[in-house]
Symmetry: C2
Subunit: 292 residues, 2 copies
DNA sequence: TCCATTGATACCTTTTCCGCATTTATGGGA
DNA sequence: TCCCATAAATGCGGAAAAGGTATCAATGGA
């Protein structure tokens, strides 16, 4: 008992004539009659009353006609949807990104992607660079926006723009006397920075700024979110070295450039073996966006 | 491409192992693999990525899995519904009845039937005895409550109760002086009665009351509804002979018995060839109801 | 490097399905 | 009343689809 018999039955219900219905199904009447009989036998229900002169639907047949039409419509939808997903014109795309990327590149990427691929449900996931990396590898994420980090063989990297490390302090902090900050200025000061488990690349950038000058950062709190860091700095619980893009328009802090500020390339990462066809349109639109 | 392949695919998606999925489908692995391959060929879409070590769903496969489950659920529902309708436990029953039957037997019948057969949608159709007869014959109605009328070979009759013809007049009409009305009392008075096209049985009952006594009713208006008749009588536009059951509790009229009042058997009628299984429970419950 | 696992392929058997010929049943017309 | 035309059911043989057995090929782990 399958959809073919449903199609046969619908043809019969619409013609109320075994011969004509068979012809519509491109077959002869005898096997057609047998299929209808088989369908009724499998259901255990008489769907049509037939004399040699006329065919009428039973109430069960009326109901089955409506239901069968619905089933076939769903069936065709399922096939169509599978094709659409395979073409990347439907389905879902899960995009992970560092929290603060929501302030920069994410809105524009989301806007353009949804305009281009209205059929694709875009699920956004704000998280840490480390979890983005993991999500890409284990398949939870299709793409991630994060700092470049060290190269991995199964991950492909698409540059977006380059952020720069900067210093943030509470307003009126002694360091605000200086126009530009050099590593030596930070010696002995408590530094609030994201934990190395959450964002190793950012943490490395901080180290790379300080250690060549012989300065050892005095880490104090190690929250997960850049926004938490800014709130702690605003409360004058320490200073911080953060990407400059996150400081724009944030109240109660003072942002100041660093001498030869370390570069923080922000990139989009994907699995090299991209099974989700919805990813390709995302890559295609990156070229057409200039972020800054 | 049919539901069997969908079932195969669901088994594969749930086990992610061709051999185990084949076993679940009570078959061996090679033909199972072929069916999956055929499904993918027909769809034109790759649903699973397979190496000799592991099987994973593609995004299209994920989507198709969800859709296929929905299709099969609908499919099974369609089969189950057909059986329920065949058993009379689902589907629809269309019951026609004379307007004024809503005052007597219809509410109790409806209440009991819906309690007994909650799955059956009961569609009620108030209309005239003539249209009930036609509806039964052409299949629009499954059952009808009406006056018995003349026997027809394809119609089966189930007695409900016996109504009686009575006289109604405006309050204060000269006839209200009499306790019981005989045909002669009506001579020359304008009679409002339902049209013979709408309710021939009732009309005949009126004739049968008058003509044996040599009285010729002077018909004045011939509305379709008994209620209209009562309103016209209340306005003193004439007298009327109506079933006594419709007079109860109606304001601004005076009802009065007739001498050897003609009986008006109220019955339920069905087609002798009852194709709708939902009718039988209706007949079953008639025996357990005593109407008056 | 070898071996176990697992999906794909080749080939054959079984089942299902379809087409042709024929039969059966029924309604209309002579 | 009989005959005939129409339409669905049935019998049977061939084709197509599905399944089974044996085997091959690829891959990951010991």
């Amino acid at each position: 008992m399958d959809t073919r018999q449903m199609r046969y039955f619908i043809a019969l219900a619409e013609t109320l004539h075994f011969g004509h219905a068979a012809a519509r199904m491109n077959m002869t009447q005898p096997p057609f009659s047998r299929q209808i009989a088989n369908l009724e036998r499998d259901l255990g229900v008489r769907l049509v009353e037939r004399t040699s002169r006329q065919v009428t639907l039973t109430p069960a047949g009326e109901r089955f006609l409506a239901d069968a039409r619905a089933v076939l419509a769903r069936f065709d939808d399922a096939c169509r949807d599978a094709r659409l997903v395979a073409e990347g014109r439907a389905g879902a795309l899960s995009l992970g990104f560092m929290m603060h990327a929501a302030q920069t590149v994410v809105p524009e990427i989301v806007r353009r992607y949804t305009a281009l691929q209205p059929g694709v449900r875009l699920s956004l996931c704000e998280t840490t660079p480390m979890e983005i990396e993991q999500g890409l590898i284990n398949g939870t994420l299709d793409a991630g926006i994060t700092f470049s980090g060290r190269a991995m063989p199964q991950i492909e990297v698409w540059p977006l723009f380059t952020d720069h490390l900067c210093l943030v302090t509470a307003p009126g902090h002694p360091l605000t006397e200086l126009d530009v900050i050099s590593p030596q200025d930070l010696a002995g000061l408590p530094v609030i920075a994201v934990s190395p488990q959450a964002a190793p690349t950012l943490r490395n950038a901080i180290e790379d700024f300080c250690t060549p000058a012989g300065v050892e950062p005095q880490y104090r709190f190690e929250p997960l979110l850049q926004h938490t860091i800014l709130r702690l700095v605003a409360a004058d619980l320490g200073i911080a070295l953060v990407p400059e893009s996150i400081c724009r328009g944030v109240p109660d802090i003072d942002a100041r450039p660093l001498v030869s500020a370390p570069e923080l390339p922000v990139v989009l990462k994907t699995r090299r073996s991209r099974t989700n066809p919805a990813v390709q349109p995302l890559l295609d639109l990156l070229g057409s966006i200039t972020f800054f």
